[in-house]
Symmetry: C2
Subunit: 277 residues, 2 copies
């Protein structure tokens, strides 16, 4: 097989298996090629990703070594995606009665989810994350997108009990929007103790839901690896969470005036983009 | 830029934009290369995908032409994934009280979802599909996976009304599991009339939920492009739906006997795998 053919297949394989250590002999066997040729292929691949600021190929030395493809977004790509997203969210047609916002188109768009997932996975590219967690329903598509790029499973916390999940552990939390005490629960078997859990959600007002998920992570004897939201509201009367990333921030919204102002969130400041090698 | 570098970036770009027509001048400009070089690159790419039976690069001739990457799974890959999935589902620990089955691990696994999404997208690779539709909650992760590979948006039908979706259209349907009449609804603005809609769900018993979604598609003046489920139960007393694909089929389940038998569904028989060019 020629180098060009190997490269086509290699890129495809690595993109289908992000954050997975692939030993060199695997590729050597797959392409019936010498290890030295595979090494050269991987150098080309690594340099191209680095030059385009569009992903990292990490080399792990030693007998148990190999390469690992790490989805990683360049700063410019990230910034222009967020600017463009903020512009699109500023459309006043999104404002629903009660000043709620319509986000279902974004949370149902494969291209937006790809960018959202890749950006949050960039933030956590070098952190220990075993699971992504979210609460039903709207955060789910985001959780899945992040999970794809980190290549770890995701778990869905329920607000209503489900018969198809078996035994659960539940916690109470104060919903920021209503100030009421509510309940959320997660299937016991879905999250092994000791896991590092990245919490994501679509929208943060006061942070009550996020705090509830933090509680739940602790009840499972797990660790919070981080918290990311698509959108934060600056109206949050008193945020109970202060360590998180947001992609965008609603600065103002008024249905009567057909007014909505959206800024870029704090995620860009929290990523070290100088990782391309 | 060298051919090898162009190929790395090109594969990455095409995989990030499946089912999207890319004009040759786009690549020529991106790599500052002659159109003839780009044509040669694309021939290598097309042949490699075809030889590996792992995707199709479609060429569209003419002034408005270009290339389109179509995710397409080979028959052998598909069959071995389904066999392996059926084996995993046969674990009796999955049987919950009431003979319900635990599927959350599969529906939360990025690698499984990738295979599920790619396989269903293979079935509909050459059909007109504008939207993927599912009903909350469990079908959602599957819908998103299919949507990614067809590169069309997905919409989520609600069983409970949501304040963050605006005006809705609703239908009544008979839930196969309970024989009760229930209601499902979809945000009006989420689905333009005239669209072709692929309906997916995680589990089909009698097909009542699928029929409900079919009704809803009609209420939106849209067309059903097809219906796919991850898992069908052979217990279905009287299936109200007969035109669908299933990935796996539960042939028998008994919690007391710790017994579960799983077969491969009918999807493989419904795909023309001789499309690699």
């Amino acid at each position: 097989m020629k180098r060009s053919e190997r490269l086509v297949d290699m890129v495809k394989y690595l993109m289908d298996h992000p954050h997975t250590l692939i030993a060199l002999p695997f590729f050597a066997k797959r392409y019936d090629a010498a290890k030295s040729s595979i090494s050269e292929d991987l150098t080309i691949l690594r340099n191209t990703l680095a030059n385009n600021k569009d992903g990292i190929l990490e080399t792990v030395a030693g007998a148990a070594g190999g390469v690992r493809y790490i989805p990683f977004m360049g700063k410019q790509t990230a910034a222009s995606f967020l600017r463009e997203l903020a512009d699109r969210v500023e459309n006043p047609d999104r404002i629903l009665p009660g000043n709620f916002l319509y986000f279902s188109d974004i949370l149902g768009s494969p291209q937006d989810l790809q960018n959202i997932g890749k950006l949050i996975a960039t933030k956590y590219a070098f952190s220990k994350v075993d699971y992504v967690m979210t609460v039903e329903t709207k955060g789910l598509t985001m959780a899945q997108a992040v999970s794809r790029f980190l290549n770890v499973p995701f778990v869905l916390v329920r607000r209503q009990p489900k018969i198809t999940e078996g035994a659960t552990i539940s916690v109470n939390y104060v919903a920021s929007s209503s100030d009421r005490v509510e309940k959320m629960e997660l299937a016991k078997r879905s999250l092994p103790s000791g896991s590092y859990v990245l919490i994501v959600d679509d929208f943060m007002r006061g942070g009550g839901t996020l705090t509830g998920m933090e509680e739940l992570v602790k009840e499972f004897n797990c660790h919070v690896a981080g918290m990311s939201v698509l959108c934060e509201s600056k109206f949050a009367s008193r945020k109970v969470v202060d360590d998180y990333q947001s992609l965008i921030k609603i600065a103002d919204v008024d249905r009567n005036k057909k007014l909505i102002k959206v800024q870029i969130g704090n995620i860009l400041d929290q990523i070290n983009f100088d990782r391309f090698s």
